[in-house]
Amino acid sequence: MLIPGIVAIFIFKYVPMYGVIIAFQDYRPIQGILGSDFVGLHWFRFVVRMPHFTNILRNTFVIAVGKVVADQVVAIAFALLLNEIRVRWYKRSLQTAVYLPNFLSWVIIGGIFIDILSTRGILNDFIAMLGFERQFFLGSNRWFQFTMIWTDVWKQFGFNAILYLAALTSINPELYESAIIDGANRAQQIRRITIPGMMATIILLATLNLGQIMEAGFEQILVMYNPAVYRTGDIIDTFVYRAGIIDGQYSLAAAVGLGKSVVAFVLIVVSYRLAYRYAGYRIF
């Protein structure tokens, strides 16, 4: 019974991988993969020697790590808080409301945020009301990475929280009953029962997210960045977009993409080992 699945995966997932060859070629579409010249590691060397390579790498890393951490922390915190709410309809509607943004595309959300975050926008009106100075969130290198991380959290945390809420429902209610009998208060219940009960899910998601460490969010940044914040906002993917699609350097783009995949693969393997060793948890 497995055979059709294996065939499908082979054809659609493995066969197309021969395309990575173009990362080692001076690829010209018209000559095709079989006809283009091999140039070995030329493009990898080209990328590493690019003067702004470390800058792009750092931006990618900072934004991606910031998102992974902030997304998870906020989602966990929100799930814990929501779990304490006893009014069912309130809990449900809140949950639905916060995960709706997940279904909107960045093109839409980006447009909205450009208005909200404008120096004349409502957020800055609020900041000014509190007596602070207005900040140009999308045009200042001081704020841009911060803004990318927190707008991403705004969009994603509701959805991530659902996974944690699901984990919470699997905790045996008897544990809470006996804890109450033993005199544990709410905070102690959370610390001793709820969080350990969620641990497996947290480790699972953390591990899966490690594979995303090179993904700083192409769409979001393409929609929201501008020349003033290239220094902090230009990431690997936006560079690949400009060099690969706009300038037609397919081999260069493929080399960068392959490099990213290799790093992500290594990270996933490492984190999987770590999760197994320290948490005794096996995902696969």
Partner: protein, 576 residues
């Protein structure tokens, strides 16, 4: 059991490979059996098919039942030349077209006719995806087509094919030169209110936004998007030509790294500091930066295309009955000249042919036919060509008026399609049909040859009060222009400025008109980034003006030196 499992897996892999294998090779050609098409007596027999991208600007503007793929032009081409025209894909705007074309190129599935910006045509040429046209034109162009190219070459100093020339052969024929008109725009009603004249120098101009900013602190004194395009008004007035190549001591140098650009950036930084440029211009592209304030009547000065009269100025005229925006000629440069410097004498787009297309000559036959039909009423040209032994295929015919001259748009005109040739269109410039396929008739030699486009005809007729003697298409254009009185006034001034520049021979071009060099593609992503971030940073005051000097060094080290070398090689090649 384990072994059996292994056998199954191996079998699956083999099947997979076999399936994938067929994807590498092309299937057997089914047309092998059909007879080879021949071009006999001016016609392909059996008919051939040409695929081409088609533009869908105004999808509703077709007379009943017709469409891009099905209209009198398409019928005529098939009937007359045995060429079937089929759309390969439709595109709503130029950017989408380029994106589709590049993906099609990457998938090796290109349309037969390529329609793209010059630099993309050149790139495709380097990749071997498009076809050199020298031999094809030489072999198949009619004497008339050849003559018109000659005339066109003369009028642009022999540069006609430079933008798409790669390794000595050209890969694309350029489009109309008329679209490049760019204007400095300013609110003339407010100038009057402030008691100021039309500015002639940058110093004159600076008085105006100051007055405006004082009176309307919320308005956009100088509307500029984050591409800095509008800043050309200031750059050019200071003799700075960023993103173009200038000649210095017999060599070409990149305009963005010249000291004039440094000075102009410092000046723009002052404007920004003064609040004349929107503090958030950097997050805004053309829409929010120019269109929105313009439509709201909240904009004072700008630099942009002549066609702004169709939009966004219409919004301003509709919303504010007092507002009037007028073009003004280029400001006086430090050397005392008032010249327009354009990035190219052409529109920047060319038509080429896919490499490996079996019947490239068909497109030249089509062009021959189009120019013959189109110029048939040009008696002067008929005479010139008679001396050269060329006989027109189509006779002189009466100027055709549309059957329904009351139609709202020229696209909706109906003609007597039984006319010979495609003489049923008097003017091919502005119909859907001319966008349909192949080399643009007017792109090549026509507009350049006649040098008196529709707008000039309208201008003169208006001055002489003879609008009613114009042809239907021109009258329709006049009607469209004058349905807002202020638009007519603005546009006539626009035409006047261009005619004056032409008369004074005061139009200059980017000194590098060649196809992008190999180093340009390689380093563009990085060099563009440092240029944009430095310029924007200086204007916004995030970086000091010294950042410009660092940028110059970075630019030269990061590939700019190699680019300069290649550009100068091209330049030396020109002189030889």
């Amino acid at each position: 059991m384990a072994r059996r499992g292994l056998v199954i897996v191996v079998a699956v892999l083999l099947i997979g490979l076999a399936v994938a294998g067929t994807a590498f090779g092309r299937g057997v050609d089914e047309e092998m059996v059909a007879p080879e098409p021949q071009f006999v007596d001016g016609r392909f027999e059996p008919p051939i098919t040409i695929t081409t991208p088609m533009s869908v600007h105004d999808p509703d503007n077709w007379p009943d039942g017709q469409s891009f793929a099905d209209n009198p032009f398409i019928w005529w081409v098939e009937r007359e030349l045995g060429i079937r025209i089929e759309p390969s894909y439709y595109f709503p705007d130029h950017d989408t077209n380029v994106e589709r074309l590049m993906l099609a190129a990457a998938a090796d599935d290109m349309p037969d006719v390529i329609y793209a910006p010059d630099q993309d045509i050149a790139r495709l040429a380097r990749e071997g995806a498009s076809m050199p046209l020298d031999d094809i034109f030489e072999q198949y162009a009619s004497p008339l087509t050849e003559y018109l190219i000659e005339v066109a070459q003369e009028s642009v100093g022999g540069t006609l094919f430079y933008p798409t020339t790669v390794d000595g052969q050209f890969y694309g024929a350029p489009h109309s030169p008329e679209n490049v008109w760019e204007k400095n725009w300013i609110r003339s009603d407010l100038l009057e209110e402030f008691g100021l004249d039309m500015p002639e120098t940058l110093d004159d101009l600076e008085v105006a936004p100051e007055a405006y900013h004082e009176a309307y602190p919320e308005g956009r004194a100088f509307a500029m998007a984050n591409d800095l395009h509008a800043a050309s008004m200031v750059f050019h007035a200071m003799g700075a030509y960023p993103e173009m190549w200038v000649e210095r001591n017999g060599e070409l140098e990149y305009g963005s790294i010249q000291p004039e650009t440094r000075d102009a950036l410092a000046r723009l930084a002052e404007w920004y500091e003064n609040g004349w440029i929107d503090s958030e211009f950097v997050v805004h592209d053309f829409g929010p930066a120019v269109l929105e304030p313009a439509a709201a009547g909240n904009l004072f000065a700008n630099h942009g295309a002549w066609w702004f009269i169709w939009w966004p100025w219409v919004g301003m005229w509709e919303n504010n009955p007092e507002a009037q925006i007028m073009p003004f000629p280029p400001l006086e440069r430090p050397d005392g000249e008032r010249v327009a410097v354009l990035s190219s004498p052409f529109y920047g787009w060319s038509t080429g042919i896919r490499a490996g297309f079996e019947y490239p000559e068909a497109l030249i036959y089509l062009l021959n036919e189009k120019v013959d039909s189109y110029h048939r009423n040009n008696l002067e040209l008929r005479e010139i060509m008679a001396e050269r032994g060329y006989e027109f295929k189509y006779p002189v015919t009466e100027v055709q008026e549309p059957l329904n001259p009351e139609a709202e748009q020229p696209f909706l005109y109906q003609y007597d399609y039984e006319m010979p040739g495609w003489g049923f269109f008097n003017e091919l410039g502005e119909t859907h049909f001319n966008r349909a396929v192949g080399f643009f008739t007017y792109s090549l030699p026509d507009r350049l040859f006649r040098r008196d486009g529709m707008f000039q005809r309208i201008y003169h007729a208006y001055q002489e009060g003879t609008i009613d003697q114009l042809r239907a298409e021109d009258r329709a254009e006049f009607r469209n222009l004058s349905d807002i009185e202020r638009r007519l006034e603005t546009h006539l001034r626009s035409v006047e400025i261009v005619m004056d520049l032409q008369e004074r021979d005061a139009i200059e071009y980017d000194r590098f008109l060649g196809a992008p060099t190999p180093s340009m593609a390689e380093h563009d992503a990085y060099l563009t980034r440092i240029e944009e971030e430095t310029f924007v940073g200086i204007i916004m005051g995030d970086r000091s003006i010294e950042a410009f000097d660092r940028f110059v060094d970075q630019w030269l080290d990061g590939g700019g030196a190699a680019i300069s070398e290649e550009v100068n090689e091209w330049f030396i090649g020109l002189e030889q």
